[in-house]
Amino acid sequence: MTSSTQSAPVASLNIAEEHKAALTPGQLVWRRFRKHRMALMGGIGTVLLLLFIIGGSIIIPESKANEADLKSRLAAPTSQHWFGTDSVGRDVFNRIIYGGQISLFIGVLAVVMEISLGTLIGGIAAYYGGWVDSVLMRFTEAMIAIPSLFLLIVLAKFIGRHVGQVVILGRTFSGSIGIVILVIGLTSWMYLARIVRANVLSLKELDYISASKALGSSDTRIFFSHLIPNTLGPIIVSATLGLAGAILTEAYVSFLGLGVQQPTSTWGNMMQQAQSFLIRGAWWMWVFPSLFIVFIILCINLLGDGLRDAFDPRSSRHL
């Protein structure tokens, strides 16, 4: 209690009640989220990792990450190369910094794509109903039925026949980055589409939608300013958990050699490269990138779990 409210106890109780009533849904979510210690730790871990890969790239220039020193190939971790060197003598520590940027970049863009596709397809199916709904949902089911890794491989080969190099912000990237983003985005929207559909189906029967229709709002307006904002909770949760999923998928795709091509590094293709040197005992080549993958996915999953509980009003008793 602050000194400004030094009045009768009854008055201060009223103030407290007024304060409670004034909480917005967003504040309620934040309040529940704050109590979730693991989720907060996940959030802090994510921020630390972001600082590491962004700060690292300010201190260490990109040329260092691609600099091959054939004299010190497959060198175990030393004070000079903290995480050792790979098969052509590149520093694993530096490559983790730059690889992490690419992995996260792919993850974020793939999730943006996943969210847009899932929201649009699920929302349109529910809003228009009828045969539109049937066709879109059968398509969604078809995509779910095909085992995801099989779909990823076929799609990666489908899109990836001709790739060149892309220059973004003065840095040259293998065009395969775009393919990986497309492939992950195109194969991950289905579950969100179902969630959004279910949500919109129940929302569109509510009175405020009828009111909005009676006032002459266009379908687009009802869709984007009434229906979608009310589905934001599940969308945010899916986006967070989807980011973890996308980073993991990138690792799988790259591990199979269909992902981002050398010399651009990602955590996934560093592991793929390491696989051939496994028998020769170069453990540092795969242990460090995988630790980073596990760490970031763990943090994001914790964050997503906390958000899910925070957005679910029924979950308060578990906290």
Binding site: L155, L256, L278, I297, L298, N301
Partner: protein
């Protein structure tokens, strides 16, 4: 009930139709099987054209699709471009190996995750619960190749160096006919699959058991003096296990597709590797065959799970 079944079957049929179209388009545009021969000695461009013509690859895609679909409906999935064996025969050869791996893994997965989920839920917030929950969270965030490479490094590479009895890496040649060799080769991939999948399952079971334990009817059961054992196993578990049945049921057809990454890392001659090897070469009859069979399995099992639900849970009536 019957009208529901008919409707579901019609929907499933439509979904399967979309799957065949999607897979056909993706595989046919994804790679050119003739590119294999581009550098082959003594093969001219005219030879390649003749071969393309004799395989029917020069016809328009819709014509090829209808021809393929017609044959597929009669149970003929065509022959591989390279091994010239019928696709169905190739799948028949690989399926038993995949089933050995996946069924063994699945049995362990179900038993272990049931035990872990139960223990964690009963002893909520205890040290055991925290340990199980943290480990399953880590396992859930881990790409399977991380644990696979780790196992090879430890049990195959290092154990051999230390002179201990070691397990095979998967790089050697072995005969599946010898049961001793089979078991030796089975241990590591099964362990990896169990570790990763159990993590997700036990987390799921823990939360569904906890949810049921918080329900009123469980309190009633306790209040009327039932022992904790009876309350738990006869009342709570029956309901808590329902969503678990769905998840396991939907994962079963995935078993047919095998575990692509695990099979590749450990050189297990199953369906996943069959798919991967032939997808690399652009041999679409094989790729399509595997895709079609596994996705049809998923569609079929989705219906079976829905029907099974009415048996396990009499409250659910389909209509």
């Amino acid at each position: 009930m019957w009208s529901y079944l008919v409707r579901r079957l019609l929907q499933a049929f439509f979904t399967l139709f979309i799957i065949t179209m999607l897979c056909f388009l993706l595989t046919h545009y994804s790679s050119d099987p003739m590119s294999q021969y581009a550098t082959k000695q003594g093969m001219t461009a005219a030879d390649r054209e003749n071969l393309r013509h004799s395989l029917g690859l020069d016809q328009p895609i819709p014509v090829q699709y209808i021809k393929w679909l017609g044959l597929a409906l009669q149970g003929n999935l065509g022959s591989s471009f390279f091994s010239h064996q019928p696709v169905l025969k190739m799948i028949q050869q690989r399926l038993p190996m995949t089933l050995i791996l996946m069924v063994t893994a699945e049995v362990f997965i179900i038993i272990i995750s049931l035990i872990l989920g139960l223990v964690a839920a009963i002893k909520q917030y205890s040290f055991t619960d925290n340990l199980i929950t943290s480990l399953s969270f880590i396992g859930y965030s881990m790409p399977i190749f991380f644990i696979a490479l780790g196992c090879i490094e430890l049990f195959a590479v290092q154990f051999k160096l230390w002179g201990l009895p070691y397990l095979p890496t998967g790089a050697d040649i072995w005969s599946p006919k010898d049961p001793v060799q089979m078991i030796r080769h089975l241990i590591l991939p099964v362990f990896c699959l169990v570790a990763i999948i159990t993590a997700g399952y036990s987390r799921f079971l823990r939360s569904s058991i906890l949810e049921v334990l918080g329900l009123d009817y469980v309190r009633t059961a306790r209040a009327k003096g039932l022992t904790e054992k009876v309350t738990l196993y006869k009342h709570a578990l029956r309901n808590a296990i329902l969503p678990f049945v769905t998840i396991v049921g939907l994962d079963i057809p995935g078993l047919l597709g095998g575990a692509l990454v695990t099979e590749s890392v450990f050189s297990w001659p199953g369906m996943g590797r069959l798919f991967w090897e032939y997808a690399e070469r652009g041999d679409y009859p094989v790729v399509l065959g595997v895709l079609l069979l596994t996705s049809a399995g998923v569609v079929f099992f989705t219906i079976v799970v829905d029907l099974a639900y009415t048996v396990i849970d009499p409250r659910i009536r389909l209509g």
